[in-house]
Amino acid sequence: MLVQFYNVSKIYANGVKALDDISIKIDGGEFVFLMGPSGAGKSTMIKMLYREEIPSRGQIFVASRSLVRMKKKEIPALRRNIGVVFQDFKLLENKTVYENVSFAMEVVGANHREIKSRVIEVIKMVGLHGKEKSLPGELSGGEQQRVGIARALTNRPLLLIADEPTGNLDMNTAQEIMELLFDINRKGTTVIMATHAWELVKAARKRVITLESGKIDSDINPGEFTLCK
């Protein structure tokens, strides 16, 4: 069991109830979609996984560690096991592709040799070989997201979480990014992806957790698909 939510509720400081009594379990190696309309609470769940937000009630465990009881100084160790991919890529505009990826290893204090071989490896893995010296501004949206994914992968995370990673991309590019994420999942990394794009989810045949106004609407495994919608 890699991720567990036990009766998690989240009420923001302004009184908005973003999550209401959520309980889920996700095994290592799974690929899980978090689906739901805008405002359903997907990002809130995602942010809780890397402890940018903490639950107002309930417990969350990642790799058997309670994120609620976790001390501040234990957070870096948790985050080194989680790669995060964003809708808006969050690349550093003045750094090259290579530097954007190596950045993730530098800031956790990895050594030079390690960095060099690993960065070249992940850049190849996401299909950007030859673009190492390009700046983000010189890349297409899909290529920029590949850099974002490469950065999330460099430190070999147990868990890759992606919040609407295809939200800024056209359908074809989105499909290519999906293929990349499936590929990463096949190699053993657990992937949790939030999205509201039903077309992508439908084609994927993976586990789908649907959220609606902060509550779990359904939790469907592949194979049960044909029955719904």
Partner: protein
């Protein structure tokens, strides 16, 4: 701190200084000016207080004895003086000695003062030095009450004025130095705040990737300390050159001897350098935790 991390921190600090080079130059020059004025006021304070100390330690009490006191009476007075607390030395000056001294002061050795005056008009006296010259006014009051003492003189008024002048010089320089230090801290804090603001996205990413807070802070501290030290270094160079050339030309200003001990000056310059670094640390410390709370 591991070596390879240190290399990374220094590189990041240098990049940040170079990226905001205009602001960095402005900060360094302002710190230079601040520390320069700081150093000048310290030098002025140092010189005046050394001078005042030497003046203060010269303050003596003259206790004149009654003209008709006999030897036993003089001895009595001396014993009473010796029993007072806070006195360093007591020197008996006979009336004959006093006349000789006066004659010498007047500088006319061959001129017989005594025969001119008919008789020696001066009384016997004690020259008294206090352990702490600040006690002089109080001591004088006590001494005046001793039987057999006719008059006490210690430059009343002048002494008090000397002390209050010395106190004022110190207070004013301290206030001035304090305000300048605040200004320098504010500038460094602003520079670092801007440097952090320029990199807030990077810092957010670093936090999410799993950097420790200190890993994120170090480059900014190095930047702040670097700016502070660079500014103080420049001001020390200017100050040392200026004061050195002043010393090579004159050794007193308005009768005030200039402090010229190498040790004193080296300590001053080292302290100013440390002050620059400390200002850098404080300034950075004020701004450092912005954007770190993710």
């Amino acid at each position: 701190m591991q070596i390879r991390n240190a290399v990374y921190f220094f590189r990041e600090a240098c990049k940040s200084i170079a990226r905001n080079h205009l602001l960095s130059i402005a900060t360094v020059s302002t710190i230079t000016i601040c520390i320069l004025i700081l150093g000048m006021s310290v030098l002025i304070t140092l010189n005046t207080s050394t001078f005042l100390d030497s003046l203060e330690s010269d303050v003596e009490i003259m206790a004149y004895l009654d003209q008709d006191l006999d030897n036993a009476g003089v001895k009595d007075v001396q014993e009473k003086l010796e029993s007072l607390a806070g006195i360093e030395t007591i020197t008996f000056v006979s009336r004959e000695q006093a006349l000789k001294d006066m004659q010498e002061t007047l500088g006319k050795k061959d001129y017989d003062l005594e025969s001119t005056l008919g008789k020696n008009p001066l009384p016997d006296s004690f020259e008294i030095k206090a352990t702490d010259s600040h006690d002089v006014p109080d001591l004088a009051v006590k001494i005046e009450k001793i039987y057999g003492i006719y008059k006490v003189n210690y430059g009343k008024g002048i002494v008090e004025q000397l002390f209050s002048t010395a106190r004022w010089v110190r207070v004013v320089s301290l206030v001035f130095i304090f305000l300048l230090a605040l200004g320098a801290i504010f500038l460094i804090a602003t520079t670092i705040r801007l440097a952090i603001f320029a990199r807030r996205k990077e810092i957010y990413l670093m936090k999410l990737i799993g950097s420790t807070d200190w890993f994120i802070r170090w480059p900014f501290f190095i930047e702040g300390i670097g700016l502070g030290s660079l500014g103080s270094l420049l001001s020390i160079i200017i100050l040392a050159a200026a004061y050195g050339s002043l010393l090579s030309r004159v050794d007193t200003i308005l009768f005030m001897p200039l402090v010229s001990g190498t040790n004193v000056l080296i300590n001053l310059y080292l302290s100013l350098f440390a002050a620059g670094a400390v200002l850098g640390i404080i300034g950075t410390g004020i701004s450092i935790n912005r954007f770190l709370d993710v």
